[in-house]
Subunit: 197 residues, 2 copies
């Protein structure tokens, strides 16, 4: 159906987004076409705007609309604490929690022998620079509790040894978490890190 | 973060799409921002194009880029068979199965006392007109095997009684099953085994 080529192309492009597959992409596109004035046109306009304005912070790797993101630009966030995360999504999760008041450093992934990801691919040299340049007193590693995440944490701790205090998020049972749903590793870590009540 | 307002708005809009939630919308938007030249700009352009060109076929309700869709415009598809589906997604599922060679009629839903959906809301009058206007010999009801789907099938069979042969997809469609979830083979088998209503 040559005249529906654009619709097919749109479905195909949407299907490649993380979290969507061919079926949900078809549903989403039909939904958008049905509400094209109310939804599809505004969405396209917004994407155009974001494509033109979004950029990565040159300092920390956060996503925003200026070369230096709001968090790096805010003097209030210069409290000597620097939280290291793998991904911008993790930074956003920390911000939603609303408990961390310092600045961030987004690695952009983890070290991976398998995928040939080395320190230079991960803004680790920039992290080392920032510790001095921004008078950091504590680096908090908030990396995922995966093998690659922990390998990366150890590598960073080695790099920063002696120059700054390095801590990491505690591992354990999430609030509201049910033991029966947790993997063995989490239960094991929670048991090892048990504390007096 | 006022300067990231557009990014937040984009996430919020994406999160409303069927199949996406807040978390997958955030992931999708980060992915799009990372690949903004390769993915976000082309996607926005394509959405703009589709918003400007997509429309519902005035005859059958299919989605395409002209007032009369390719299937209705094709003389080859005028074989006297008319397949009635609830939704455009179902029409696409039938087309992917590749076994039906006639034309379609998209109802746009099912009769529903609960949601106050009556025959006029469903292109049923138009269906009755088409049976005569297009010399239809057989109406094949390919409605979902839900209570509302079957109620609608019986209502349509009553309306068309005496004027045309009415059949429905048979064994192969599981109870409570929706066409769009079925594999091509199941749809194909159900069409071949269709029976009188
Ligand atoms: Zn920043
Ligand atoms: Zn049509």
């Amino acid at each position: 159906m040559s005249s529906t080529r654009d619709i097919d192309a749109l479905i195909e492009m949407m299907a490649k987004l993380p979290g969507l597959g061919p079926r949900s992409a078809r549903r989403a596109v039909l939904h958008l076409i049905r509400k094209r004035a109310l939804l599809l046109t505004p969405l396209a306009d917004l994407m155009q705007t974001v494509a033109a304005t979004a950029r990565e912070c040159l300092n920390c790797g956060n996503v925003g609309t200026s070369d230096i993101c709001d968090i790096c630009a805010s003097e209030k966030r210069a409290n000597g604490e620097l939280c290291v995360v793998e991904d911008v999504a993790d930074l956003w999760a920390m911000e939603r929690a609303g408990v961390f008041k310092g600045r961030y450093h987004v690695l952009g992934g983890t070290l991976s022998a398998l995928d040939a990801v080395g320190p230079e691919d991960l803004r680790i040299p920039k992290l080392v620079d920032r510790v001095t340049a921004e008078n950091i007193a504590e680096v908090i590693l908030a990396l995922n509790a995966t093998i690659d995440g922990q390998t990366t944490a150890h590598y960073i701790a080695d790099q920063l040894e002696g120059s700054v205090k390095v801590t990491s998020l505690a591992q354990g049972v999430p609030i509201g978490g049910e033991l029966d749903y947790l993997d063995d590793g989490t239960i094991s870590a929670a048991l090892k890190a048990r504390r007096d009540v």
